[in-house]
């Protein structure tokens, strides 16, 4: 701060408080709604303070599911979301770090071509090529499977890029010293590259976990079998109950549960999250 002006500092706090309120308000409303009896929603406006039906609502959607919407119990969808998010995260990190290692630490024919092929995926988000990609997955018989949910999403130019950039900052001499010390390429990878990449891997893990957990359109297309529903897409099914108003308390309880894991990851690993996000663009 350049000069001490109490008014400006007060203004700064005011702006921040308003910002926090704006950011938090929808979630508060959702939480409040999830704690009220279904009947509350028939009579006008949503209340602003929590009701008493919270435990019952959460218990019911977690373990029994909501019969009217045909959705399975939430814990099952959460499990599917978790499997999908973790598969995507681990898969992306694994294949990216290996290919970045190959691109940086080897010279081989078609190296540049391979790099560009991977780079192109940056330009082809799944939403853009959704119809033909769906067809490929269908032809491979991967509908309604965890493989179908995760594998098509694990190629990532961003992660490969990030690792490549990071590897380029590892001093050349380190690999040379290791080579003189008798380390084979894979030994160098295991003993040097992996331990040195630890923070980068963790930061990517946070970002990619969120990416995987929040997938929406892809699971919607790939799963027709409720056993493979993920939470984020499952909510939409609950909302879209034919011809009647949604059961708001159940929907909002699911919304809260769907937000919880990724939000906890961001808040709990804020430093890594910020690093992962900001470095991605370097």
């Amino acid at each position: 701060m350049v000069e001490n002006r109490p008014f400006l500092t007060f203004l700064a706090h005011l702006v921040m408080v308003l910002g926090v309120l704006f950011v938090a308000f929808p979630v508060w409303i959702a939480f409040v709604a999830s704690t009220h009896e279904p009947g509350t929603f028939l009579s006008g406006v949503v209340p602003m303070l929590p009701g008493k039906a919270g435990w019952e609502t959460y218990r019911q959607i977690l373990f029994s599911g909501v019969s009217a919407s045909g959705a399975p119990p939430i814990w099952l969808m959460m499990k599917n979301s978790l499997i999908m998010a973790l598969s995507i995260t681990v898969g992306k990190i694994t294949i990216s770090i290996l290919s970045a290692f190959a691109i940086v630490y080897f010279r081989f024919p078609f190296r540049v071509a391979a790099f560009w092929l991977i780079f192109i995926t940056l330009m082809l988000p799944v939403e853009v090529r959704i119809v033909p990609t769906f067809k490929v997955v269908a032809d491979l018989g991967m509908l309604n499977s965890y493989a179908g949910l995760s594998i098509p999403l694990i190629a990532s130019a961003t992660a490969t890029f990030l690792f490549r950039q990071f590897f380029l900052t590892i001093p050349d001499e380190l690999a040379e010293a290791a080579r003189i010390d008798g380390a084979s390429p894979m030994k160098f990878f295991r003993d040097m590259v992996l331990p040195l990449s630890r923070t980068n891997i963790a930061a990517l893990f946070v970002i990619l976990f969120i990416y995987g957990w929040n997938q929406y359109v892809w699971p919607m297309l790939i799963t027709t079998d409720p056993d493979h529903y993920t939470l984020v897409m499952g909510i939409k099914r609950m909302v879209a109950v034919a011809d009647s108003d949604p059961q708001w308390n159940y929907v909002m309880a699911s919304v809260v549960l769907a937000m919880l894991p990724p939000v906890l990851v961001v808040v709990g690993m804020q430093r890594l999250f910020v690093k992962g996000l900001v470095e991605q663009e370097k």
Binding site: E173, E176, A177, R179, A183, K187, M192
Partner: protein, 360 residues
């Protein structure tokens, strides 16, 4: 320990750039050889070829009796100390030292014994369990050397190991390296761009320029009888004065000023004069025009010109200084070089090996 032989070694990069243009060199067992030259002269490339970190485009490198052109660096029985130390940042000092030994499947007790010995020699025993980032520059430097020593290799390769240290520490570590070499007597190849470091460390000095060897020999021999203008200008600080001159009837002239007589050459030459070999006394109308004086404490440097060419003279404190001075030069202090190729003109003046000392 082993001797290292380079014959016709060339490095040609893809794209045709020749970084090393044919080097022949014998490095005897136990010898301390220093490659010195300006950046881009090929000294590092040459060292890295010996290490096996660069492929040899042409020619042959032998370590001991073995041609090592296609031998992996790890199997060449060499150890290397890098400019930025290249310590493994996530490993403790002990792990750094043991990594290469473990990779060679050395028994545990032997590894422990060697690390203890090395740590004692280098006085790093107290921080064996620290990570490199918790060490000072000098300590890191020692660990880097320890990693080489612990291997007990046939040869040490040093790639500008002191250039990241401050001046005082550099001087100190230079002494330690010298001391270590005396103690271990391992064949060593050392690369530096610092001519003073090169002069003080080398048994044998190799001056490189543009991918070729300019001159090889004992440091003092190179200092006293530089084979070319390049070597003459590179070794010594302040550098040798190099003047455009011409010889007419045995007399050496710079411009219209006659400097010396009895020179056995003819036509234009380059005259080399070390600042400590030029003597000047105050004389109005003298050829040397003084511009400014640089006080160094024990002596002073006189900066000026002769016939418009820059000349630096090292002068004792008691000598008088004036704006115009006459020059006095002993014939044996003069170095003459061809204008065309910059090579030394031998036997142009009377020279004795101890000449420099006599007139000092």
């Amino acid at each position: 320990m082993a001797q290292i032989t380079l014959s016709g070694v060339k490095k040609i990069y893809p794209g045709g750039v020749e970084a090393v243009k044919g080097v022949d060199l014998e490095i005897a067992e136990g010898e301390f050889v220093v490659f010195v030259g300006p950046s881009g002269c090929g000294k590092s490339t040459l060292l890295r070829m010996i290490a096996g970190l660069e492929t040899v485009s042409q020619g042959e490198i032998r370590i001991g009796d073995r041609v090592v052109n296609n031998v992996e660096p790890a199997d060449r029985d060499i150890a290397m100390v890098f400019q930025n130390y290249a310590l493994y940042p996530h490993m403790s000092v002990r792990q750094n030292l043991s990594y290469g030994l473990k990779n060679r499947k050395m028994p545990k007790e032997e590894i422990t014994r060697r690390i203890d010995d090395t740590a004692r020699i280098l006085q790093i025993t107290d921080y064996l369990d620290r990570k490199p980032r918790a060490l000072s520059g000098g300590q890191r430097q020692r660990v880097a050397m320890g990693r080489a020593i612990v291997r007990d290799p046939a040869a040490f390769l040093f790639d500008e190991p002191l250039s990241n240290l401050d001046a005082k520490l550099r001087l100190h570590m230079r002494g330690e390296i010298k001391h270590l070499h005396r103690r271990l007597a391992t064949t060593s190849v050392y690369v530096t761009h610092d001519q003073l470091e090169a002069m003080t460390l080398a048994d044998k000095l190799v001056v490189l320029n543009g991918g070729r060897i300019e001159q090889v020999g004992k440091p003092l021999d190179l200092y006293r009888r530089p084979a070319s203008v390049f070597v003459a200008g590179f070794l010594g600080a302040p550098a040798m004065n190099l003047l455009d001159a011409h010889v007419d009837g045995g007399a050496l002239h710079v411009g219209d000023v006659q400097i010396l007589q009895g020179v056995a050459a003819q036509g234009p030459v380059i005259a080399g004069l070390r600042p400590e070999d030029v003597h000047a006394r105050v004389q109005p109308g003298g050829a040397f025009r003084l511009e400014f004086v640089e006080e160094l404490g024990g002596m002073r440097l006189l900066h000026g010109s002769v016939e418009g060419q820059r000349l630096i003279i090292q002068s004792p404190l008691q000598a008088e200084v004036g704006p115009e001075m006459a020059l006095q030069i002993a014939p044996e202090a003069l170095h003459l070089f061809n204008v065309a190729d910059g090579m030394r003109i031998t036997n142009a003046v009377r020279q004795a090996p101890e000449a420099a000392d006599a007139t000092g």
